[in-house]
C-alpha cells in the first residue's frame, strides 16, 4: 500500500532509485508519519492537513483548496554574509 518514497539524488547515479520504499536508505525523516501520508499546510486556516494518495486536495477542517508544501526537514546551510 505504501507509496514509493522520494529518493534524494546522490549525484553518483546510483541504481538505488526505485528499489522500493523500505530497502533504500532515506535522507528524510518522517518519523510518526504513516507511510504514504503527506502533510500539507492549509492556505486558509494554517492547519496541518494529512493527504493520502489520490485524496482530493482539500483541507479537512475548512475545505480550502489551497494547500502548501511543508518546509524541508533537512538542514540548510547559509553563510552569514
Amino acid at each position: 500500500m505504501s507509496r514509493e518514497q522520494y529518493q534524494v539524488p546522490t549525484g553518483s547515479g546510483s541504481p538505488t532509485i526505485g528499489t522500493g520504499s523500505f530497502s533504500a536508505p532515506t535522507a528524510r525523516d518522517y518519523t510518526g508519519d504513516v507511510g504514504g501520508v503527506m502533510y500539507y499546510m492549509c492556505g486558509d486556516c494554517a492547519v496541518r492537513v494529512p493527504l493520502e494518495k489520490g485524496a482530493p486536495i482539500r483541507c479537512q477542517k475548512c475545505g480550502a483548496r489551497v494547500l502548501y508544501k511543508e518546509r524541508t526537514k533537512r538542514m540548510v546551510q547559509f553563510e552569514a554574509r
Binding site: 518546509r71 538542514m75 547559509f78
Partner: protein, 374 residues
C-alpha cells in the same frame, strides 16, 4: 646672507591649514628636505620623538577619544584603516538552519545573525582562538573544525500562545511566549578547551542582548546552530572591531583683533557651545595702547576657550562685523581620533593593536626588501 632659523611663530604657522570662507589653503605639509633653503627637514627619529605626543580625552569601554600630536597624515590614516579593516574579531560565519518557519527568510536571518557583535574572555578571544581556513578539499570540511578555531552557538525558539494572558490583550509579547527573538536567546555551546577560557563572565555572549533578530507568531519556530570564526574587516564588515574609527584635525581659532560687546555674544553664537567664552576686559588691558581695548574696560570680549569642540562650520566668516578679526584653521599634525568599539575589544586596545599590527607589517616588509636586494 646666512640663513636665519625659523622663529617659533613661523614653525607654528607652517603647521596650520588655513580655512577661509570659500577656500582651504596650505593643505600639504612642507616639512620635507629641500623645501626651505638652508633648513634640514630630513626625517629623524629623535626629532620625531621630541615632537610626538599622545593625549587621551576619553577612554570608556565603547568609546575612546585621543589625540596624536606631531605625526604625519599617512601614519594617522594607516592607523585608522588598520583599526577598521585589519584587527581580527570573532563573528558568526556559518548558519545551519534546521527549521525556520518565521516570516524572515533563511538567508536574511543568517545575515542578521552574522552582524551581531559578540564578547567573551579576552585571553580566549585573542590568544587561544586561531584562524579557521576553509580546506581546499571539500571532503575535509568536517575535519577542519576544532575547539581553537570554531565557536559553536545555537538558537532554538518556538512561539506559543500564552494561556495566562489577560482577556483583550493586544500586545504580542504578552499574548504569546517568544513572540520576539532577541540576541540573548542565542546559546553558547562550549566544546573542548573552550570551557577553560569562556566560562562565567567570560562566556561568549552578544554584547547587546536586546538586539531583535526576528518576530514570531504561535506555531512558528526557529531552530538553528551557528559556527563562529575569526575574521578581519577587510573580508566583511561584521568582523570590524569598531563601529566608527575616524579622526579630524585640531581646529584653530585665532582672534586677531578684539571682538567686544554685542559682537562678542554674536561671535560666541557662531560656534558650538563652550568654544568661545566671554570675559570682561580688564583695566590693565584697557590701559594698554594699541591693544584695541582702549576705553572698553568692563565690556565683554570674546576669547577662545576650547577650540577642540569646534566643528569648523565657518559660520563666523559669513558676518561682515568679524571680517579681518578672526582666522580659522586646523593643525595639520594634530589628529583627534574617535574610536567606537563594538564591544569585543576595549576601545583603547583596538588602537594599541593597530600600532602593533603596523609594526609587524613594517617588519615583514623589511624582510621582503632585504630578500629582494640579496
Amino acid at each position: 646672507m646666512p640663513h636665519k632659523p625659523p622663529t617659533k611663530e613661523e614653525l607654528e604657522r607652517r603647521k596650520i591649514v588655513g580655512i577661509r570662507d570659500e577656500t582651504i589653503t596650505d593643505v600639504s605639509c612642507s616639512d620635507f628636505p629641500g623645501h626651505y633653503p638652508g633648513e634640514d627637514h630630513s626625517w629623524d627619529i629623535d626629532a620625531f620623538r621630541r615632537g610626538f605626543s599622545v593625549e587621551f580625552h576619553q577612554n570608556d569601554r565603547f568609546e575612546a577619544s585621543f589625540s596624536l600630536i606631531g605625526c604625519d597624515a599617512s601614519i594617522a590614516n594607516a592607523f585608522r584603516r588598520i583599526m577598521i579593516a585589519d584587527i581580527p574579531t570573532l563573528a558568526i560565519e556559518n548558519v545551519f538552519i534546521n527549521n525556520n518557519t518565521s516570516v524572515i527568510q533563511d538567508e536574511v536571518l543568517a545575515h542578521r545573525l552574522g552582524l551581531i557583535p559578540f564578547q567573551g574572555g579576552h585571553e580566549g578571544l585573542h590568544k587561544f582562538l586561531k584562524w579557521w581556513r576553509k580546506p581546499t578539499d571539500e571532503a575535509q570540511m568536517n575535519n577542519s573544525y576544532y575547539d581553537f578555531n570554531t565557536v559553536s552557538l545555537k538558537l532554538e525558539v518556538q512561539c506559543e500562545h500564552n494561556d495566562k494572558a489577560a482577556a483583550g490583550e493586544t500586545d504580542p509579547t504578552k499574548l504569546y511566549h517568544h513572540a520576539h527573538v532577541y540576541a540573548r536567546d542565542i546559546e553558547f555551546c562550549p566544546v573542548g578547551r573552550q570551557d577553560r577560557y569562556f566560562s562565567g563572565a567570560d562566556a561568549i555572549a552578544p554584547v547587546n542582548p536586546d538586539i531583535l533578530i526576528a518576530k514570531l507568531r504561535p506555531g512558528q519556530e526557529i531552530s538553528l546552530s551557528m559556527h563562529m570564526h575569526k575574521g578581519v574587516g577587510s573580508d566583511h564588515a561584521k568582523f570590524s572591531p569598531v563601529a566608527t574609527a575616524s579622526y579630524r584635525l585640531m581646529p584653530v581659532i585665532d582672534i586677531t583683533r578684539p571682538i567686544l560687546g554685542d559682537d562678542a555674544e554674536k561671535f560666541a553664537r557662531c560656534f558650538p557651545r563652550g568654544v568661545i567664552e566671554l570675559e570682561k576686559v580688564t583695566k590693565k588691558e584697557a590701559g594698554q595702547k594699541g591693544s584695541g581695548y582702549e576705553g572698553h574696560a568692563g565690556e565683554l570680549k570674546a576669547v577662545v576657550a576650547d577650540p577642540m569642540r569646534d566643528t569648523v562650520s565657518r559660520e563666523c566668516l559669513r558676518h561682515d562685523e568679524f571680517k579681518d578679526k578672526v582666522k580659522l584653521g586646523r593643525r595639520r599634525d594634530h589628529f583627534i581620533y574617535l574610536v567606537e568599539s563594538t564591544g569585543q575589544w576595549e576601545s583603547d586596545a583596538i588602537f594599541i593593536e593597530a600600532v602593533a599590527h603596523l609594526k609587524k607589517r613594517a617588519l615583514d616588509l623589511e624582510k621582503q626588501v632585504k630578500n629582494m636586494v640579496r
